[in-house]
């Protein structure tokens, strides 16, 4: 009898597939997961929502017996058909279950595959390991079939490829093929799409959905993204600080949350246009007091405080950037035109490879274009000399994506924030610099005492605040934010976005923000530019681009972005 047949025969007859009772995980004296109960029925799709440190990943790992050794655990996990409690089972028995009855897809596809082994062999290994198939030919044929089943376009090539020769989306498909190789009873997905582009995320989500439904596999889907979980699952558990605070069917938990934390998460993940930005909208929304008619804004994209006559702070004309990577020629930018006026907030949206990062690098004088013109604050950044860049370094500051990687761990917060001031004439005295640092830290909502500490003593959100403080210390005119919130949890994201909004408003900053997330950009920006393959495919007022995209790609991007409202509407429709 195949696994699928067993499943059919056993459905409902002998209780749930997985029953977790009183699962507890501790790191020494610190509890990470408080006693937790969870059942997953055959073919049921259960979501686990939580932010970093909520214990959701540890819960997922304990279901496949891969908790880190240094952690203590208690409770029991019963898997139907397995004789022992999974938490107490001998390693030998667990090895027989992993990859055969319980499979897992991890978050980071870039590092989840062995870089030195052909992809085909890595997929084949899960078959030979459990002796599902023997003989090289049979394994190869089955691996090809599996790669095809996850819609990889050229399975023969993928079979012989090394992981670095595949894109992130392709690698995640390989991981899914691997997970389904032995037709498992339970698939665990831990943030499987968090590291992927929006359109690739859509494909991977659809793929998981299709595979799970067609085979009747039970699913445990872990994510911080409410919309993604809502889409993939029937039932959901919300975790906070190692506790399940709420659970129930997706539509009821996510429309009428009982626990304040769930309600807060929901609020934080619904990004409405921020109060600070000039609210313009084409679909009958309330326009802000200073907003002009949308048509004029399309023609002359100026900020509310500036007339069409004011010179743009950022001016980009027919910008090209081409470079060679090995034998390949990469066209990162293919003729980009752009203008940002003083006080305006421009959002640039695009997926990896769209050229948005290259554009930012050129604007901040870190890269030079192949051809075209670009000026920022009156400085020609296409052929910058050291002297000419000086006013630019003060007038333009950047907040980077990863608050973990962009702060030197050996420097104190003071040294980090103070650094842009060093070497400037007007901030020579230490006392003056210390005052500016304290002021900057206060502005981002940190105590001035934080200056004496080091980055590792702060959380991700706090580190991003430090990063913002550093960029504000020179009192710049232009703030460039490169994916400033994509590495943050939803509730922290809301706080950092609110902070950026307030600072931009109070200081009259010109903001250029890059993000892969249309919602985040619409939240903060007046105008949106959508980039693809080094070109601008659409540009216009934020609400118009968001609500009524003209370009096909923008529309695809918009539709691919998981939206809680759309999912819930659909689920309600199905329910009736």
């Amino acid at each position: 009898m195949t696994a699928a047949e067993t499943r059919e025969a056993g459905t409902g007859a002998d209780g749930p597939l997985v029953r977790v009772s009183g699962l507890r995980v501790d790191s020494g004296p610190t509890p990470l997961v408080h006693p937790l109960d969870l059942t997953i029925g055959a073919g049921e799709r259960v979501g686990l929502i939580g932010e970093s440190g909520s214990g959701k990943s540890l819960t997922a790992l304990s279901l496949i017996g891969l908790l880190p050794d240094e952690l203590d655990h208690g409770g029991s996990i019963a898997l139907r058909g397995a004789s022992d409690d999974l938490l107490a089972a001998p390693e030998r028995e667990l090895c027989g279950l992993r990859g055969r009855r319980v499979s897992m897809v991890f978050q980071e596809p870039m590092t989840a595959l062995n870089p030195l082994m052909h992809v085909g062999r890595q997929v084949g290994e899960v078959l030979t390991q459990h002796r599902t198939l023997t003989g090289r030919r049979a394994v190869r044929a089955r691996v090809l079939e599996l790669l095809e089943s996850v819609h990889l376009s050229d399975p023969e090539r993928v079979l012989k490829a090394y992981p670095h020769q595949l894109s992130g989306g392709q690698r995640q498909r390989v991981m899914i093929a691997m997970a389904f190789a032995n037709d498992p009873d339970l698939l665990i997905c831990d943030e499987p799409t968090t590291a992927l582009d929006v359109t690739v995320q859509r494909q991977v989500l659809d793929l998981v959905d299709e595979a799970v439904r067609s085979r009747g596999t039970s699913l445990l889907f872990v994510s911080h993204d409410l919309a993604v979980v809502a889409e993939a699952c029937d039932r959901v558990l919300v975790m906070q600080d190692g506790r399940v605070v709420e659970s129930g069917p997706v539509p009821s938990v996510l429309t009428a949350p009982q626990h304040p934390y769930t309600a807060r998460l929901l609020r934080a993940s619904r990004l409405e246009p921020a109060s600070g930005r000039s609210a313009r909208s084409t679909d009958g929304g309330t326009p802000g007091p200073s907003a002009a008619a949308p048509d004029t804004h399309d023609a002359t994209p100026g900020g509310p405080a500036h007339g069409p006559a004011s010179d743009p702070v950022v001016r980009v004309r027919d910008l090209h950037r081409t470079y060679r990577s090995g034998r390949r020629t990469v066209h990162a930018l293919r003729g980009v035109d752009l203008e940002v006026h003083g006080g305006e907030r421009l959002g640039i949206v695009g997926e990896s490879g769209s050229g948005k990062t290259t554009l930012l690098k050129i604007l901040s004088g870190l890269d030079r274009p192949t051809s075209g013109a670009a000026s920022v604050c009156g400085v020609d950044v296409t052929r910058p000399t050291r002297r000419a860049l000086r006013p630019l370094r003060e007038g333009l500051q950047t907040v980077f994506q990863d608050p973990m990687g962009s702060l030197d761990p050996r420097m104190s917060v003071r040294e980090i924030v103070e650094e842009p001031l060093i070497g400037r004439r007007d901030t020579r005295t230490r006392k003056h610099r210390h005052e500016l640092v304290a002021e900057s830290l206060r502005a981002v909502g940190l105590e001035p005492e934080a200056a004496e500490r080091h980055p590792h003593q702060f959380s991700g959100g706090q580190r991003q605040r430090i990063s913002i403080a550093r960029s504000l210390v020179t009192d710049p005119d232009v703030l460039i934010a490169d994916e400033p919130v994509s590495a943050l949890d939803v509730s922290v994201r809301a706080q950092v976005l609110a902070l950026l909004n307030r600072l931009v408003e109070e200081r009259g900053l010109t903001l250029v923000m890059v993000s892969h997330d249309l919602g985040v950009v619409r939240h903060l920006c007046d105008r949106i530019v959508v980039m693809r393959d080094g070109r601008v495919v659409e540009s216009g007022p934020a609400d118009r681009v968001y609500d009524d995209p003209e370009d096909g790609y923008t529309r695809a991007l918009h539709e691919a972005t998981p939206s809680l409202d759309r999912v819930l509407a659909r689920k309600r429709g199905q329910g009736r």
Binding site: I64, L66, D69, E70, E91, R92, C95, G96, L97, R98, G99, R100, S103, M104, F106, E108, T111, A112, L113, N114, P115, L116, M117, E125, V126, Q129, H130, Y162, H164, M175, M178, G326
Partner: protein
């Protein structure tokens, strides 16, 4: 791939050429006239002239350099100014002794360090793993010659199992050859194994924390199997680099050990030649050592290309 190998080969040859120029130039810049060394300080200017002409030292430097360098690929290092004999047979004979010493020491060190280091990594939280780690730390701190003298004191003088010093060519008496080899190789390998164990441990520890090792476990591979099938090859990459560097330091270590055990290797040859102010021999030995180092690096580069599919793309 072919391009990558070609590029590295070209770099290897160019570095060799540059090194040879440096070695040659350095030897000429040093004070001391080979003719004066040969004839003694009392010799007349006329006699010195004649000797210089005889040695070919009156020719332009470029010609002298070419004369020297063109012979090396054929294994001809020229004639010593001091002894008047061909340098090559002596130097190559001495080199073969050192090679036996260094290569066997490295093989032993790696053979000990890989399992020991992996063990220390896998059991890094257990007492035995910590003990291995601590022991290797101690080993790193022991100089080669001290290890050699301790070994002699214990196994040669104390227990009398093995000869304390001197050398026996393998063709002459294989058993004697091996018994003479054991202590110097052990002295070299012990310290080397300690160093390598630490690197292997660090490397294995690092790969054990990699995401793809977790993927392997999630496929149902046991800890051991995941380590053997996925981990070790990845762990080998940084260890390989270190092995290359350590081989070079091992050559230096061998010079000292050859003194301790009175072994006629390239190290003792170098010291004798320096003492005798035998310019051309010193120059040749230094060049040989430089060639050995560069060759090791070249081989490591090639091995990297084979082991890591990403390197061929990166450069």
């Amino acid at each position: 791939m072919i391009r990558a190998v070609g590029g590295r080969a070209l770099r290897f040859v160019l570095t060799l050429a540059a090194t040879s120029v440096l070695v040659f130039a350095f030897m000429r810049v040093l004070p001391g006239d080979p003719a004066e060394v040969a004839l003694g300080t009392g010799a007349s200017e006329e006699a010195l002239e004649r000797t210089r002409a005889e040695f070919g030292l009156d020719r332009p430097l470029a010609v002298q350099y070419w004369d020297w360098i063109s012979g090396i690929p054929l294994g001809d290092f020229g004639v010593s100014f001091v002894t008047g004999e061909d340098i090559s047979p002596v130097v190559l004979d001495r080199l073969s002794v050192s090679l036996i010493l260094v290569v066997s020491a490295m093989v032993v060190a790696v053979a000990v360090a890989v399992p020991l280091g992996s063990w220390a990594a896998v059991r890094h939280r257990r007492a035995d793993g910590i003990a291995v780690s601590a022991l290797s730390q101690v080993g790193v701190a022991v100089p080669n010659f001290l290890a050699g003298m301790l070994l002699v004191a214990a196994f040669a003088l104390g227990l009398g199992w093995l000869p304390a010093n001197s050398w026996m060519p393998p063709a002459y008496d294989p058993v004697q050859f091996l018994s003479h080899l054991v202590l110097p190789v052990a002295a070299l390998a012990a310290v080397q194994a300690a160093v390598m164990t630490r690197y292997v441990r660090t490397s294995v520890l690092e790969i054990m924390g990699q995401d793809w090792m977790r993927t392997a476990r999630a496929k149902g591979l046991s800890r051991f199997r995941a380590l053997v099938r996925h981990g070790l090859r990845n762990a080998a990459l940084p260890v390989l680099t270190v092995t290359g560097i350590q081989l070079t330091t091992l050559v230096v270590g061998a010079v000292v050990i050859e003194q301790v055990f009175v072994i006629p290797g390239i190290g003792s040859e170098l010291i004798e030649a320096v003492a005798a102010r035998d310019l051309l021999t010193v120059q040749s030995v230094v060049m040989l050592l430089a060639m050995a180092t560069l060759t090791v690096n070249f081989v490591v580069d090639l091995l990297y290309l084979i082991l890591d599919p990403r390197t061929a793309v990166r450069t």
